[in-house]
Point group: C2
Chain length 262, copies 2
């Protein structure tokens, strides 16, 4: 892991790095020492490791909770070379969005191919991050990523026992269900009720496929890009519950939740 | 509204009252003066106004946020007389639960009949509560109730413009959809993925029927009575967001939620 540059703002250090030919970014509290929870952020399709939403989320996690946060460019994204197929798929998605059509099996296959490359890249990144003093080995690790971030994050979480909690969503293609069935850590899953790219039933089916004892579906009205702002806070609480408080898997609230009876 | 008794514990005043022949309970901060948000709690079927879950929730809302909280016995519940039909329906539900069968249309019809009586009772209760100094008129009012609490609460909220935010769930019978379509205030809706009494599709359909611009579905694995403890906190944040902070309806987070891209 080679660090290339460091900038700081509002008490947050942002360091760009490369690991082999994969470019990444690490956010952490300024002058952080000692181990801390780590959250990995997976960006959406057509986006990159420093997309505005990821930067805002990283700053929040660092300043409010002292987490370390990292993102890498997915294959064919950000500062990485794009193949002819990448360009063709991107153009195809643009056309489907313009036409209001759901993403088809070609995109699901392309994303699965991206994931097959991205999963070992994330694992090597996690190895390197855990060798840093300010992260450390053996601590809690969260993953957040929706849409393409889930196409990669679900198989990553299935393969990677170091990830202890994950936020996914805006995804529901068939190939993901098999990986989801191997995920057992707590999951918060975002679904947009009127998602023009992911059919509602496909999203519900993917939520159903996770083997996690604790999994919680948050569905809201609106299109693919319309996740409401309050879900930002909800994801944050999900991570603090699982990465900081180290809660045991959720138990039914029983009578204390006031839902006794019918 | 005639107050019958007052007990206090942990800084919470609990006053039993009757309004006509409807028995109720009001929780409030000890020595509260001046208006404050009010939350109405609807109990589940076979339960009553002082079920353990309602008491725990009321104490939390009073001590953490200074809300006033009220509950009344539904027709045929708690301290109210039960008709022969009430007894028959209750026995039928017990049998269906034992057999693992969903609640049928007979229960839905019975609940609709209960709701037709309970809605004006709740409205008269709200009139009386808002005449109290410690509640006041014109302030924010929330409703929380799942299962039978929703069978009554959904038509109540549809009919009652003073209710400004509501938590519903564990319900999905056909007659409720029509009332749900007349609800426009923010709604948080709880669904149990493996609910033995309410088919999953019926719950999803009821969520879909609300006309609210902000509505959020929280689905969790488990049976009817297995709502996880973290949903207690979530309902509380929902009410503080809408009754205290007075948020405008949710706006898409756009790029700040990091969900740009696909």
């Amino acid at each position: 892991m080679r660090f290339i540059s460091e900038t700081t703002s509002n008490g947050v250090s942002e360091r760009l790095f490369t690991l082999g030919d994969v470019p990444g970014v690490l956010w952490s509290p300024l002058d952080a020492t000692g181990s801390r929870p780590l959250v990995l952020l997976g960006h959406g399709g057509g986006q990159h490791k420093r997309a505005a939403g990821l930067v805002a989320r990283a700053h929040r996690y660092v300043t409010a909770h002292g987490f370390a946060v990292a993102a890498i460019d997915a294959p064919g994204h950000g500062d990485r070379p794009r193949t002819e197929q990448d360009e063709r798929i991107t153009a195809g998605i643009r056309e489907r969005r313009a036409a209001g059509e759901p993403l088809g099996p070609d995109v699901a296959r392309h994303n699965a191919a991206l994931a097959a490359r991205a999963v070992p890249e994330w694992q090597a990144t996690l190895d390197a991050l855990q060798r840093l003093d300010l992260v450390g080995a053996g601590g809690p690790v969260g993953f957040w990523g929706v849409s393409l971030g889930s196409a990669i994050g679900v198989p990553l979480t299935a393969a990677e026992p170091r990830i202890t909690a994950a936020v996914f969503g805006l995804a529901g293609h068939e190939p993901l269900a098999e990986a989801a069935a191997r995920v057992t850590v707590p999951v918060e899953f975002l679904l947009q009720w009127d998602d023009e790219l992911v059919p509602r039933d496909a999203g519900l089916a993917l939520f159903g496929a996770f083997s996690s004892r604790e999994k919680t579906l948050h569905a809201n009205p609106g299109r693919h890009a319309g996740v409401p702002a309050f879900e930002l806070e909800s994801s944050e609480r999900f991570f603090t519950r699982h990465l900081l408080r180290g809660d045991a898997p959720a138990e039914p609230a029983g009578s204390s939740a006031g839902v006794e009876g019918r």
